[in-house]
């Protein structure tokens, strides 16, 4: 997994609430058996018309937001399905950080498994950053995971909270499975207890 430490980049404004996983990547792209190459499908139904041509006024089709690495969005971002194709598509497009007032649970988890940092900030602060994002290349945002702070274009600092374990894994690019297999003895002892106490399971 890619590490995430510090990022200064163009942020794309997406001022919609309840951006769901079907919007982020619709079902026809879920038929792949790979994780890669899904960036072209990101926000497919908003980004392309029925003929497959780009919708010119969709933010990610416009300069400079084509090169955005940060997304600023409304509440409950990523609601809906568990499809990890959503963060795969975001990551493949080049988005490494999403800032919103809230995220749906499963999507939030999935981001951390793919080197993407979801940042939760209060609505008023997201609104301020949304204004920065609308200025495109003239108002780059900085996201510093180590210091847990987003820095707006005018230098305003917005501190954010994050689960310490997830922060650690993201900063080091750690593989969860490797970490858990280090606890194999504890899993085995749990399984012995389970076999004794709840043998029907």
């Amino acid at each position: 997994m890619q590490k995430f430490e510090r990022l200064t980049a163009i942020a794309a404004p997406l001022p919609l609430i309840n951006v769901d996983t079907d919007m982020i990547i619709p079902k026809q792209y879920l038929k792949t058996i790979k994780r890669t190459g899904l960036g072209v499908a990101l926000f497919d139904e908003m980004r392309y018309d029925a003929n497959g041509d780009e919708v010119p006024d969709f933010v990610l089709n416009r300069a400079p937001w084509r090169d955005a690495e940060i997304l600023v969005a409304g509440a409950n971002f990523g609601c809906g399905s568990s499809r990890e194709h959503a963060p795969w598509a975001l990551e493949d497009f080049g988005i490494r950080c999403i800032i919103a007032p809230s995220f749906a649970d499963i999507f939030h988890n999935n981001c951390f498994k793919n080197g993407i940092l979801p940042v939760v900030l209060p609505q008023a602060q997201v609104d301020a950053l949304m204004q920065d994002a609308e200025q495109g290349g003239n108002a780059r945002l900085t996201v510093d995971l180590e210091k847990q702070v987003v820095v707006g274009a005018d230098g305003t600092e917005y501190p954010f909270e994050i689960d310490p374990f997830k922060k650690h894994c993201l900063m080091e690019g750690l593989d969860d499975i490797g970490l858990t297999l280090g606890r194999a003895a504890e899993i085995e002892s749990f399984e012995s207890r389970l076999a004794a106490e709840r043998p029907w399971v």
Binding site: P15, L30, K31, T32, G74, E84, S102, T180, I187
Partner: protein
């Protein structure tokens, strides 16, 4: 001992390890697997030379991509769908997990066959790479969706790295009025709390109206806990649960049953347990509802009208305008004047035998309105067989419904069952997102009885007018 909620008790019984910062390793009793969210996980195992730790706790079935037409066993025309189903077939056999292929009569939607086969039992932890895993909470099991990286993690370790959620109680007091179903309860709850109302929480549903629901109704309710943003939904197991579970192929038998039952009976929230959030609804105030927009929280009584976007606060107005434009609806239009093109009765929300019975009761002796495409997709091969035995299939066929084979079908448009742009559908599924049932498709969510009523009249209809 301090008082505990049901969620606390299941959590404690599955804790392998907990760090001081709250990061926990939770043991997983059942891992359900389908073809869409698993290929990359199996590939990851293969690349790392890892095995499936507990293949006997891992149950695989293809459901999202499989066509629901009679000739599907011989051919899946869509190449990518076929490759995905074949990949599951190969992975299931190579890694030795429990497997129900397309040709097996027990095949069906993963969240329907888990309970049907007795894999899902009270007090278990159940995960699946699918958000509607919350369905299994109906048994008093802690059940939720996970992403593909987590699927790989569970395959390799039979555990999940997670943190404890908060406890939320949703109490539905009193008795449900006639014509009002579990689907109306679940939609009404989401209408009240919003799609993020449960975020960070595990919901326990309780109260007289919940107790009186059958297992099918409870599964419908918990199925949509995720639509309310919750990590999971739970209902404490009781006699209704035990009666449903008894005798299922993978349920415990004999002495094991007695031992299991003794533990299951301890699985309820203690009287003075702490709740972080409490929501109460009066069942007598719940009416048959439908959705008007593109979020499951866009709920209105069938007797109402399409709302005015400007009546919403907090940034919802913009989303509501966008939703009405997508849905092709004008504010103020009475719901009962909205014509529909298609009726879809199916999905992990509402494709169990009781759902089909409810739909058949409305349809019996009536015909599908001319010009309406109406389909019934049973949730499993066994539900289908039972419906045929009970004569329900004949009622549907005589009325002009298309009687399909089991699968996810038109709930999510990954198989040939899809809406065309602009096509308006009365659906018993769980999501009305833009493009969910096919690009440009317009979805109105409702109960099976309401969908059946819409099929007969050709418009959104209050089922109480037909009974």
């Amino acid at each position: 001992m301090s008082p505990k909620t049901l969620y606390d008790k299941i959590w404690d019984a599955h804790l392998v390890h907990e760090d001081e910062d709250g990061t926990a390793l939770l043991y997983i009793d059942r891992h359900l697997v389908h073809e869409v969210t698993s290929p990359q996980a199996f590939e990851g195992l293969r690349l790392a030379g890892r095995a499936v730790r507990a293949p006997e706790r891992t149950i695989a079935v293809p459901d999202h991509n499989v066509p629901t037409s009679a000739d599907r066993a011989d051919r899946i025309d869509d190449e990518q769908s076929r490759i995905q189903v074949e990949a599951l077939d190969r992975n299931a056999r190579e890694f030795g997990v429990v497997y129900y292929p397309v040709s097996d009569v027990r095949q069906g939607i993963v969240h329907i066959i888990g309970p049907e086969q007795g894999w899902t039992l009270p007090g278990m932890t159940v995960v699946c790479g699918d958000s509607h895993t919350s369905t299994h909470g109906a048994f008093g099991a802690l059940a939720h969706g996970i992403g593909t990286s987590e699927v790989e993690h569970v395959l390799a370790t039979q555990t999940l790295i997670t943190r404890k959620s908060k406890n939320m109680k949703v109490e539905v007091t009193g008795k449900l009025p006639p014509g009002v179903t579990a689907k109306d309860i679940t939609l009404s709850i989401i209408g009240k709390t919003g799609t993020a109302g449960g975020t960070g929480h595990v919901i326990e549903y309780c109260g007289e109206a919940i107790r009186s629901l059958s297992m099918e109704g409870r599964m419908t309710l918990c199925n949509m806990a995720i639509e309310g943003g919750a990590r999971a939904g739970l209902i404490a197991p009781d006699e209704t649960t035990f009666d449903y579970v008894a005798g299922r192929p993978h349920a415990p038998k004999g002495a094991a049953w007695e031992a299991a039952l003794a533990w299951w009976k301890t699985l309820h929230s203690d009287a003075d347990a702490h709740w972080d959030k409490v929501v109460t609804l009066d069942a007598s105030e719940i009416v048959p509802v439908v959705t008007w927009g593109t979020s499951p929280e866009d709920v209105v009584p069938i007797t109402g009208a399409v709302p005015d976007p400007d009546s919403f606060a907090d940034g919802k107005a913009e989303s509501a305008k966008r939703a009405l434009e997508y849905m092709g609806l004008a504010p103020g239009t009475p719901l009962s004047e909205i014509d529909i093109d298609t009726v879809f009765i199916g999905s992990c929300t509402n494709a169990r035998i009781e759902d089909l019975r409810a739909a058949a009761e409305v349809v019996k002796g009536r015909k599908v309105k001319e010009g309406v495409r109406a389909m019934i997709v049973p949730g499993s091969g066994l539900v289908r067989a039972q419906a045929e035995e009970e004569g329900l299939a004949d009622i549907f066929k005589e009325a002009g419904f298309d009687w399909r084979l089991a699968g996810c079908s038109m709930c999510l448009g990954m198989n040939p069952d899809q809406l065309s742009p602009g096509e308006r559908c009365a659906a018993t599924s769980n999501r009305n997102f833009e493009g969910r049932q096919g690009r440009g498709g317009r979805t109105h969510l409702m109960s099976p009885a309401m969908a059946a009523a819409a099929a007969v009249t050709g418009r959104l209809t209050d089922v109480r007018e037909l009974t």
